[in-house]
Structure formats: structure tokens, C-alpha cells
């Protein structure tokens, strides 16, 4: 097997903790199979580091099938790397060539401070959702029958497309303004599209947008980069809908 795989140079951001300063460090890995996932390549590097007594590179990952939203690497200047419609864990090494130098950085945004190496703190997303990302319904066992309110297939499908967001933060990472509007727009849209979400809609959009601003995310300038880098293809239309909902909540209701 030796010699068949790729030899790569990795430039990786190393930072011991949020208080310490970080820097880019070069590593070499060899004999990387094209069928490996990007994170498996990182595993190879980490095993190599452990063998030499060095501390392995910390990075977030969990499901490794593109749904948990944990993995978050900025690879060669793009969120989740060069492929489209995928998370970092779904990126495969066949996207790279022997001899390549690959830069790997954490998500960058003031609202996503680095915890260690490539791990960032995304709890700002949590607080935005806590500000209104729900429909206030208690669990009672007496909720009305699920088919009591028919919902048009179109609305249900569109709500599903918005709800498919995995909260990874690639939209923020890739945005030149570190704006979280694709994420927040998707959440607001999911509920705005469904009849169940109407009652709280005006308060929801106001509170979530206010929290988003409070967390220090930037403004959307409609570059559309987020939509392209989003692993789940969340549409920019959701941002327009959020804007609409905010106008509605202030001027109509």
C-alpha cells in the first residue's frame, strides 16, 4: 500500500485555549487514500502526533455522516472545503491531489470564539434559538389530532427545506460579514410557513433578530456565499422571508 496514496502538507491553526495566541503550523501526512474522508485523514495525522508524544489537533466532529452539524473546518479558504452540499466529515480526499498543501482553520467570527485549535464556541446559536425558536405547546397527550389542520404539501415541503438546517455555522464562517441571517432566517421560516407557528410569529422574529444582533453577528449584504457553502442548501429566500416577517411584525400587526 505504501507509496500509493497521497502525500500532503497541512497548514493547521493551533491554539491551546481561548486565552492563548494561536498560529498556523505545518504538518506532513503521507500515504493518504483517496477513499478516506477528510476527518479520517485528520485521524491519521492525530495518531501520528500521539505516536510522537505531541498533542493531537482538537476538532469538533460526531456523527460523521453530515447531520449533527458538529464538524466545522475552513479548508483552503472555504467552509467545509471545496466540495458542495456536504459537511467536512463528508468531504473525501479524492477532492485533493498528491503534493497539495491544505490550509485548515477554525470558523472565524467574533460570535464564535475559538475554544481550542479548530474547535469554536457556537453557543450564540443556542441563545438565538432560546429567544424564540419554538412553538409554545406543552406536552399533554391531549394535543389535537395531527391531521386536524391540513397543511399544503407545498408549505410543508418548504418548511422542511428550511428545517433541514444542521446549525453547523458554515453560513457565518463563510460570510464576509459573519452574519447569521441564513441560520436565523431558516429557523424563522420553518415556523412562519406552518399554521402552528402563526400565533407567536411577530414576537418570534423580533426576539430572535434582537438576540442575533446582541450576539454580535454581522449584517447580511446578500453576497449569497452562505447559500452556496451551506451543506444543506438552505436557500437565501429564507433571509428574504425573515426580513418580510420583521417588516410585518413591526408595521402590519
Amino acid at each position: 500500500m505504501s507509496g500509493k496514496g497521497m502525500n500532503l502538507t497541512l497548514k493547521i491553526w493551533r491554539q491551546n485555549s481561548s486565552e492563548k495566541k494561536g498560529r498556523m503550523v505545518d504538518y506532513k501526512v503521507s500515504d493518504i487514500s483517496e477513499h478516506m474522508s477528510f476527518l479520517e485523514m485528520m485521524d491519521v495525522l492525530n495518531e501520528q502526533l500521539i505516536a510522537t508524544g505531541e498533542e493531537p489537533v482538537a476538532f469538533d466532529h460526531d456523527c460523521r455522516e453530515g447531520i449533527c452539524g458538529m464538524c466545522s473546518m475552513y479548508i483552503n479558504g472555504e467552509a467545509h472545503g471545496p466540495d458542495r452540499g456536504i459537511t467536512t466529515c463528508q468531504l473525501h480526499m479524492r477532492m485533493f491531489n498528491d503534493g497539495d498543501t491544505i490550509t485548515i482553520e477554525p470558523w472565524r467570527a467574533s460570535a464564535f470564539p475559538v475554544i481550542k485549535d479548530l474547535v469554536v464556541d457556537r453557543t450564540s446559536f443556542e441563545r438565538i434559538q432560546q429567544a424564540g425558536g419554538f412553538i409554545a405547546v406543552n406536552t399533554s397527550g391531549n394535543t389535537q389530532d395531527a391531521n386536524a389542520i391540513p397543511i399544503s404539501k407545498h408549505a410543508a415541503d418548504e418548511a422542511m427545506d428550511a428545517a433541514t438546517c444542521i446549525g453547523c455555522g458554515a453560513c457565518v464562517a463563510t460570510c464576509k460579514n459573519s452574519s447569521a441571517m441564513l441560520f436565523v432566517g431558516a429557523k424563522i421560516s420553518q415556523y412562519a410557513l406552518l399554521p402552528q407557528g402563526q400565533v407567536e410569529a411577530p414576537d418570534r422574529v423580533k426576539n430572535m433578530v434582537a438576540q442575533m444582533d446582541l450576539e454580535g453577528f454581522g449584517n447580511c449584504t446578500n453576497t449569497g456565499a452562505c447559500e452556496i457553502e451551506c451543506p444543506k442548501g438552505i436557500s437565501l429566500d429564507n433571509i428574504a422571508r425573515m426580513n418580510r416577517e420583521l417588516i410585518k411584525s413591526n408595521f402590519i400587526k
Partner: protein, 670 residues
């Protein structure tokens, strides 16, 4: 100690209702005085946290991920069962109950399963009210699909991301309570021990995964909702961080561990590609609705395919062996998971596997594409459509149904599954075994509960598709919130639990010394090295087919690996900062103990049932020849193991299972 399942008396249909009516409640003013810890925030933990907080308890929820939304329930694809009978195909609570007990190969507790079926419909109502965007038909009503092992269409779904949507629903309910201050959420925290005071669960010791701080948290009850232990195999469809530590710690503090050998090997996963493989990816079972599973009929074709000299599309229809349709004409490709997995293994072991490693079978959509294509041509009124047009129309329908799964497959394997059949192979997916609980979902430690996949649950020896989501949410939304009140009603005068108790002191000390040990050990091998070795033994000897000799060998080998682990493991970095290797070390240490108990349990159970297949126990003749053979005379019980200091000293307790409402039968899908 005698196991008491606490199943209420009375007819099965009324048990839960009558019981609920009579159990003790805690009044709203007193709920404010009571703290509950929930470990894990997947479907079970998330829904339980939200509901308990809605009721007024003070909930402290813990997750090792950076958000509750990332728990591995999120990866469930196919759907959730509920006896709604929206399709009018004869579904009912009884039928769901019956299918689940039969699917579990008659190794689950009847009363629990009936309750599960009973509350299943409420789950769908609740989720829709929360804004879960289930798939709908053009009339605006909810759509259903069918899953393996049943004869009705009762599975609700949200594209191929049902688990995600349900979890986001529970998560949104949690968020509402976090905002109200009723849930205190501890992200990036891992439970490392249970604290038992005067025989009752009163708190946990956790490690803050960012700062490395070891913390004490007290409560009046502790709920374990930390999922299954499939990662004991190293390679599984579980998330990388999925672990058994919380469950294993409560086991070591006195909770019995039930049926560890019941593991589900899911038939439709993407085959492994190399030694570097870190996890296996599942393709939803829903694919079996339309995909046909086959291998070449002739050995020469199989050999040519393995050598890369022949392509599957070049094999003629009559030279293909659709082995599931051949062996199980009634259920065909929709036989339960355990049956489908074993059948794939049987073909591959016989040499008919279809990739380089010989460990894969085809899942082919060509027939479905043609069928849908012709249907669409008719609907769209296209007379004499060309074969290309039909294929194109058919592919569109298949894409609408499974597009995201096909895309996922293509990204991993780099082959277009619309044109070439998919390759699949079984992989560890779900563990039916887990912490033993009574009807109230309480473990053998008073005040310590286990819900969702973490308990030994309602699935017996095999879980049917789309039932895990149902069980997790049933436990969290509709069962535990009632039953826990019965216990907590005795705690209204207890007041806050102090973390200064000597039991907290001792537990924290033990946790700290173990963390220190790992850092100071300075061995030569990484944690993964041992985990991979354990996984190999588990897969080879305690995998899809088990026998006495291999199991005995496995027990020895696991002991050996464990010994080496403690001598030679190395964990770089410091304990007082983020340290993923240190996290893994603790988890693998627990897997190394659990693996041995797992093998012991498999050795003890000499029958074949559900996911547990003993090569010594097969039908010798008759129409079922070669199928798994259950032994109801001797094994109609739950194995509940008591910890005694070393896995090999564990003591077996048996909870006898009574079947009053379902007749024990040979599980036939022929």
C-alpha cells in the same frame, strides 16, 4: 435481590390508564422544590427534559456535544411508527403492539410494549403541534411509508431526516424551557459517575469538556438517557462520541444491566473501504421499500465482480439471486433487520459478496425506476415513451423519495446509484440491551431512571425499523414524566441535596484519580489502538453469528486487551483543558468492561433470538430449515446482570417474561 418489574395488574389495554390514574402526583408548588438531572439530550433525554420542566421540576440537562440538538438521534433517517391508522389499512394499538413483540422475537415485556403502542399516536400529535414538518400528501394530510417486518403503512417521516426533525422538535421544546430558566443546560459536559446517598441516586460527577473541571451536581432523581453502546464494536453507525459511560457507571453503582448481547446489525449500510475507516454510514431501511437485494447466482460471476472484471449491470436477470425474495416470499426485501443482515452474511460467507473484500451485496433500484417510470408516463399521458424517457421519469421519482440518501452514497462511494446498484453490508446500529428498568423506567437504584436506547427497552431481541424514535419520545414525553412523579412525591420535604456529602467527595475523588491515571500513564499506544482491537474481537466473535468457542475466546481476548490497555495506554495533553483523547480513554475503558459482559451474556444464552444468533441453535429441518431457533422453554427471560467488581464475576438475575396477550410462535416471514 429479586427483580420486580412492577407491571400493574389488570387487562393489558387498561394497565397504563388505570395505573396513571392511581399513582402519586407532586403538586405544582412542590415541583419547584425538586431537581432532576437528565444525562443525554437525544430524543429521550430532550423530550424528558422539556416535559419535566414544563411540569415545573428544575431540570439540569447534560450533553457532551456543544448543543442538545447534536445528539445522535439526529441521524435517524427513515421514520417513526404510530398506530394512527390514517391509511385505513387495519392498523391499531394492538397490531403495533403485536408487531413489536413479534419483531423483538418475544423477548420484550408485554405491558411496556402495549403502553408504547398506546402512546404512539400522541407522539405524532405532539410533534405536529411543535412544528415538525412531516411529509404530507397533496390533500395536506400526513403521509406514511412502510417499514420492515410489518404488513401496514404506519411510518411517519420527514424526508430522510425524520430523527433530525423530531430531535429539533424536542430541542425547541427544551429551548423554551431553557429560556424560562426551568432547564439549566450543560453543553460539553460528560457524566463520569453517579452519586448514591442512602441507597438513592442523588447526583452525578461531571467533567466540563472545555475547562476540564470536575464538577458535582445534585438532584432528587437522575435520568440516564445516554443512548446505546454500539461503539463497543469501534465501527458502527453510531456517532464517534456515542458511548456507554453513563450507563456503565450506573451499572457499577448498582443498576442491573440487561440483555447486553441483543445488538442490532443493520442490513443497509455502506460497506467499509479500508483500515482507516472511522465509522460506518447507514442508508435508511426505507430504501428496501423500492430497492431489491441481490448477489450473483453463479460463483464465477461473483469472482469476476470481486476482481473488478465484471460490472453488476452486465449480469443478466436470470443470473441474479434475489435471495431475500427467494427465501422469504411473503416479506421479501422487507423482512426485519436481523433476518436481512444474517441473509447477507450467509451469502457473503458463501463467497458471493460483490466488492473487493467480498463483504457487500447489491441494493438495486432498476426495477423500481422502470415501474415508476411507466407509471409516470401513464399519468402524464405520454404514449409509447422511449426506454430513456421511462428511465428518466422513474429516476425523478426515486430522487424525490431518496434523493438525499443517493447523494450521500455517491459522495462516499463515488458511484452513481441511479445507474449502478448500491453496495450495502450490515453494520452495528442499535443496542436493544441496556440498563434494566421496571415498568416505571426506574433502574434497580431507587431514583435512577433509564430511558430511550439506554434502557433495555421495549424491543426485545430485535428492534423493528422506525421504533427507536417512537420509544425514545414515548419514554420522554409520555411515560417518565408520570412515573417519576410517583417516586418524587416522597421527596417533597427533602429540600436541596447538598453536594458536600461524603458520597460526593468519594465519587469525585475516584473520577479525579482515574483522569490523573490516564495522563500520567505515558504508555506507548493510543486509545484508538485498543478500541480498534476490541472492535475487531467483538465483530468477529460476538457479531452477527456467535458460537460457544468464539465467545469463550472473545472473553479471554477482551480481558487481555483490557489488561494491556491499563498498562500501555497513552493520553497526551493535560486534564484541566479540552482533551479529546482523555474523553475517549474513559469511554474505551468502560467499553472494555462492557464488551466482556456482552460476550458472557451471549455465551449464556444458547438459543437464537432476534439479533442474537447462536450457530448451535438453528432449525434442523422443515420449511424453516436454517432459520434461527428460539428456545422458549429455557430462555423466556430477561438477563439482568449485577456488577460485582469484575465483569467475569457479574451475577445473572432473570426476569421471567409472561405472555398473556400474545401467543409465542415461531417468527416466520416466509
Amino acid at each position: 435481590m429479586k427483580l420486580d418489574s412492577k407491571v400493574p395488574k389488570g387487562p393489558i389495554k387498561d394497565k397504563w390508564t388505570t395505573y396513571k390514574d392511581k399513582i402519586n402526583l407532586v403538586n405544582p408548588a412542590n415541583k419547584r422544590l425538586i431537581d432532576v438531572i437528565v444525562v443525554g439530550t437525544g430524543l429521550a433525554g430532550g423530550s424528558a427534559s422539556a416535559t419535566l420542566a414544563e411540569l415545573g421540576y428544575n431540570v439540569k440537562a447534560f450533553a457532551y456535544q456543544d448543543s442538545p440538538r447534536r445528539a445522535h438521534s439526529i441521524a435517524a433517517q427513515g421514520g417513526i411508527n404510530a398506530a394512527k391508522n390514517y391509511q385505513g389499512d387495519g392498523d391499531s394499538n394492538y397490531r403495533l403492539f403485536y408487531d413489536t413483540v413479534k419483531g423483538g422475537d418475544y423477548r420484550s415485556r408485554e405491558a411496556n410494549v402495549y403502553r408504547l403502542a398506546e402512546v404512539s399516536a400522541n407522539i405524532i400529535d405532539q410533534c405536529v403541534a411543535q412544528g415538525v414538518p412531516f411529509a404530507r400528501d397533496y390533500g395536506g394530510l400526513l403521509d406514511n411509508r412502510s417499514f420492515g417486518g410489518v404488513l401496514v403503512s404506519r411510518t411517519f417521516y420527514a424526508k430522510g431526516q425524520t430523527g433530525q426533525q423530531l430531535l429539533l422538535g424536542a430541542y425547541s421544546a427544551m429551548n423554551r424551557q431553557i429560556a424560562r430558566g426551568k432547564i439549566e443546560m450543560y453543553n460539553r459536559h460528560e457524566m463520569l459517575d453517579l452519586v448514591v446517598i442512602d441507597g438513592k441516586a442523588r447526583g452525578i460527577i461531571t467533567r466540563n469538556l472545555i475547562t476540564g473541571e470536575v464538577e458535582r451536581h445534585s438532584a432528587h432523581a437522575v435520568v440516564i438517557a445516554s443512548g446505546g453502546y454500539g461503539n463497543v464494536y469501534f465501527l458502527s453507525t453510531n456517532a464517534m462520541g456515542s458511548n456507554a459511560t453513563a450507563a456503565w457507571k450506573v451499572h457499577k453503582k448498582g443498576a442491573f444491566f440487561a440483555n447486553p448481547c441483543y445488538t442490532q446489525i443493520h442490513p443497509t449500510c455502506i460497506p467499509r473501504s479500508g483500515d482507516y475507516q472511522s465509522k460506518l454510514t447507514l442508508m435508511s431501511e426505507s430504501l428496501r421499500n423500492d430497492g431489491r437485494i441481490w448477489v450473483p447466482k453463479h460463483m464465477k460471476d461473483a469472482k469476476a465482480i470481486q476482481a473488478g472484471k465484471l460490472r453488476p449491470t452486465e449480469i443478466l436477470e436470470e443470473d441474479r439471486d434475489y435471495y431475500l425474495e427467494r427465501r422469504y416470499p411473503a416479506f421479501g426485501n422487507l423482512v426485519p433487520r436481523d433476518v436481512a443482515s444474517r441473509a447477507a452474511k450467509e451469502r457473503c460467507d458463501a463467497g458471493y459478496g460483490v466488492n473487493a473484500t467480498g463483504e457487500a451485496v447489491y441494493l438495486d433500484f432498476a426495477t423500481a425506476i422502470q415501474r415508476y417510470g411507466k407509471e409516470q408516463a401513464k399519468i402524464q399521458g405520454i404514449d409509447n415513451a422511449t426506454p430513456e424517457k421511462i428511465t428518466q421519469l422513474g429516476e425523478k421519482i426515486v430522487e424525490a423519495k431518496y434523493g438525499n440518501l443517493f447523494q450521500m452514497y455517491e459522495k462516499i462511494v463515488d458511484e452513481n446509484p441511479y445507474k449502478t446498484p448500491m453496495m450495502i453490508y450490515p453494520a452495528t446500529h442499535y443496542t436493544m440491551g441496556g440498563v434494566w428498568v421496571d415498568y416505571n423506567l426506574m433502574t434497580t437504584i431507587p431514583g435512577c431512571y433509564a430511558i430511550g436506547e439506554a434502557n433495555f427497552s421495549d424491543h426485545g431481541a430485535n428492534r423493528l425499523g422506525a421504533s427507536a424514535l417512537m420509544q425514545g419520545l414515548a419514554d420522554g414525553y409520555f411515560v417518565l414524566p408520570y412515573t417519576i412523579g410517583d417516586y418524587l412525591s416522597n421527596d417533597i420535604r427533602t429540600g436541596p441535596i447538598s453536594t458536600e456529602a461524603p458520597e460526593f467527595e468519594a465519587a469525585e475523588k475516584a473520577v479525579r484519580s482515574r483522569l490523573d491515571f490516564f495522563i500520567k500513564n505515558k504508555g506507548t499506544k493510543s486509545v484508538d489502538h485498543f478500541h480498534k482491537r476490541l472492535g475487531k474481537v467483538m465483530w468477529n466473535n460476538v457479531g452477527m453469528a456467535r458460537n460457544e468457542k468464539d465467545l469463550k475466546a472473545a472473553i479471554q481476548e477482551i480481558q487481555q486487551i483490557r489488561e494491556e490497555f491499563w498498562k500501555d495506554v497513552t493520553v497526551p495533553g493535560e486534564p484541566n483543558q479540552m482533551n479529546p483523547e482523555l474523553e475517549k480513554a474513559g469511554r474505551v475503558a468502560d467499553f472494555l468492561e462492557l464488551g466482556e459482559l456482552f460476550a458472557m451474556d451471549a455465551l449464556e444464552r444458547t438459543e437464537s433470538c432476534g439479533g442474537h444468533f447462536r450457530e448451535e441453535s438453528v432449525e434442523e429441518d422443515g420449511p424453516q430449515k436454517g432459520e434461527a431457533k428460539r428456545n422458549d422453554e429455557e430462555f423466556t427471560f430477561v438477563s439482568a446482570w449485577e456488577y460485582k467488581g469484575d465483569p467475569k464475576d457479574a451475577v445473572l438475575h432473570k426476569e421471567h417474561l409472561e405472555f398473556n396477550d400474545i401467543e409465542l410462535k415461531q417468527r416466520s416471514y416466509k
